[in-house]
Amino acid sequence: MDIREYIESGIAEAYVLGALTPEERMQFESDMAVYPELAKEVRALEFTLFQYCSANAITPPATLKEPVYDALLNATGSMITNHGKTGKQIPIKPAYKKSTFNFRNAAAVAIILGSLSVNYIFWNQGHKEQLERIALQEQLTKIQADQKLLASQLSDFRSSTAMMADTGIQTIVMHTMVKGHPMAATLYWSKANGETYVAMDALPKPPKGMQYQLWVMQNGKPVSMGIIPDGMENTPVMQKISMVVTNGEAFAISLEKRGGNAAPTTLYVMGKA
């Protein structure tokens, strides 16, 4: 088999993305065991996907951490206490009763002892230095990746800084209008030439069949500035609005059925100019 040609076919990409059928996947895995080049290619692609996931990372709510830890303690507890449904201690029975459970216990103990002895060997045979070196290498790789990502983000934002630096531009933060749902969006408005830009910093993805619509309040009446394109929510990406707006008291975003409405239905965020 010409291994370069095989890699060129995109099979490794399809494999790491999980886009192969089960049969194709099994075939590829057995090929990978034979050709180290394939395995190397797969590791590199997996690292790329990890970086892609890191770039898409979302910090979970802070309130989640402790309940997760409690659940881990319970999960570990239930493994050790032999799935006792009532939670009380079960006395150890002779081996002929509940033999499967005792077998499991024995296996668990063997794994724990195995793991402990592996730890012991690792920590006591001078492997620590090696581990530290690997840690440093990983740190360096991570820093390089971070730097690359920052550089690309910088070039993205550089184009918008010129606009931001313009003192004629007013920044209007639109705050949530729905109690208990912290949402926000930002509008940049150059009143002199009527230019506006919107960034949907903290708005959820709209439900299926719905879209966000931008409004300007003129003389107390909402005037539509158009539908906001999909996929902008929860990003600091700015979108220029084509409508020229030279007067207005406030700006708002509402949730509407796909295609929009003549008047706002549910206001999500609003900010005074």
């Binding site: 999980g18 892609y52 989640l64 793991s115 690997i134 999909d230």
Partner: protein
Amino acid sequence: MNPEKIYSEEELILLLRQQSREAFNYLYSQYSAVLYGVIRKMIYDDDIARDVLHDVFVKIWISINQYDAGKGRLYTWMINIARNASIDKLRSRGEIMKAKIQTTEDAVNKLEQGMKTELYTDSIGLRKIVANLKPEYEAIIDLAYFKGFTLDEISKSLGIPLGTIKTRMRSGMKQLREAFNN
């Protein structure tokens, strides 16, 4: 916990197998945002996504002994747990088909957006910040990686020939790889 401390994967695996609080703190601080990002790519509902993240940590914690470093890196293993848990959750709620239909719509929107970006050259933004990945590449990568579509399913649902899907998938991965200098 000392926030400056950085463990290698090998050290983290050892710590996790000891099931210490420090191991959990480190695991959570280093990986919860990546894993939550993966889950949220797959599940739109915040509450369900949080439940899945919870389950993913439990799964990582109790199956760390089954992790085999010979088969791939720890982050790949953890991300795959998150992907599988999300797909299982969608499937259990009978939403997997719905999700497939919805993502096809999203993908089509992305394709349209890609064309729009080229038309409205004066507008700032619209481009995804992530590695400036072309929308038509991103759609295919996301359908496969985050929605569990096979190449054939992607081809059928987007109405684009299989050969084109393969080429775009490869180009997309190449673009990501170059962007991350990998």
